[in-house]
Symmetry: C2
Subunit: 163 residues, 2 copies
DNA sequence: AAACGATAGTTGACTTTGTCCACTAATCTC
DNA sequence: GAGATTAGTGGACAAAGTCAACTATCGTTT
């Protein structure tokens, strides 16, 4: 991947203006989206040099945490379609960060594993992510941070359970 | 940090395939994305009958809260490109929910206004959004809800300020 | 063991969404 | 008035997700 030009994720700059939010400000979903948009924008900018496809990082992280996971399970965990997962694993293999191994018990399955090089890359990515989040989390006390994680987990459980 | 990452020795026991998050669980951005994805999915499903384009709802809400706002200002507020805003306003006008009026002072600008019908539609949409969020927020105490909003606002201010 | 349906992975067509660039009309500056 | 700037528009393009079909394996039924 030496010759291709790196795609630069740039977008409209976050505007600090005096626009009223109105009733929109009463909803958590709006605040959530706002923060999350900016965070992912920052993370993409920090990793623009690598030209990472979105979803690649989390997929790699999930595989690392679940050695031998199948592509279907990975799809479910990351929330992507199976077909998208295929192309992500393709890229991961191309980079040499992960590999497919046919499962011995069920030869339909591809058991996924992270390579040592993939582990190193993951370390780098996690470090960058920590850096990006650090500036934001610095605003929060430890208790608030903990509360936030806890609340978000409960919200996630609630919203997932009712589907 | 919350209680999520649990190293699982995945044995050949497919009781309930719980996927480990690993280090990913240490990041707020991940949790944020997770919850927000599910929430917006639910909201889209609740409004599938209307075939709403994404961003249309928030645009309408912003116009309602800022009568006479220009398209550029709206773009900045919602975080979309100007060209995208154009097509959104096109749709809003087609539905009869909003309208462009040429500004008298600056004839380049389109001052945007929500129609009475648009206001009624907005009421319906806000009601649905409340319904969608209600199931999730029900998990939270009032104090937690308040703290969540406060924390998210501070995070947003922090991430916006450093650009 | 042959046949059936179900599952894992793959591929390709299609839609949606966002980004970028060029063009116009109007405004502002000098 | 000339030239630069801004608001809005249109179109080309790329990234990303959805969907349906297809192959190969597996499990179960008969």
């Amino acid at each position: 991947m030496a010759s291709t030009s790196t795609p630069q994720p740039r977008g409209p700059e976050p505007e600090r203006s005096e626009v009223a939010l109105g009733r929109l400000g009463d909803f958590v979903g709006f605040r959530l989206r706002r923060v999350q948009n900016q965070l992912s924008r920052k993370f993409a900018a920090a990793n623009a040099d690598l030209g990472l496809r979105s979803g690649l990082f989390s997929s790699l992280a999930i595989v690392a945490a679940n050695p031998g996971i199948s592509q279907s399970e990975l799809s479910g965990a990351v929330g992507l379609d199976k077909s998208v997962t295929v192309t992500i694993i393709d890229e991961l293999e191309k980079y040499g960060w992960a590999e497919r191994r046919r499962s011995a018990e069920d030869r339909r399955r591809h058991a996924l594993y992270v390579t040592p090089e993939g582990d190193r890359q993951l370390d780098r990515l996690f470090a960058r992510m920590e850096e990006v989040e650090g500036a934001v989390l610095h605003q929060l006390s430890d208790a608030e941070h903990q509360m936030l994680n806890d609340v978000l987990d409960r919200m996630y459980d609630a919203v997932v359970r009712e589907l």
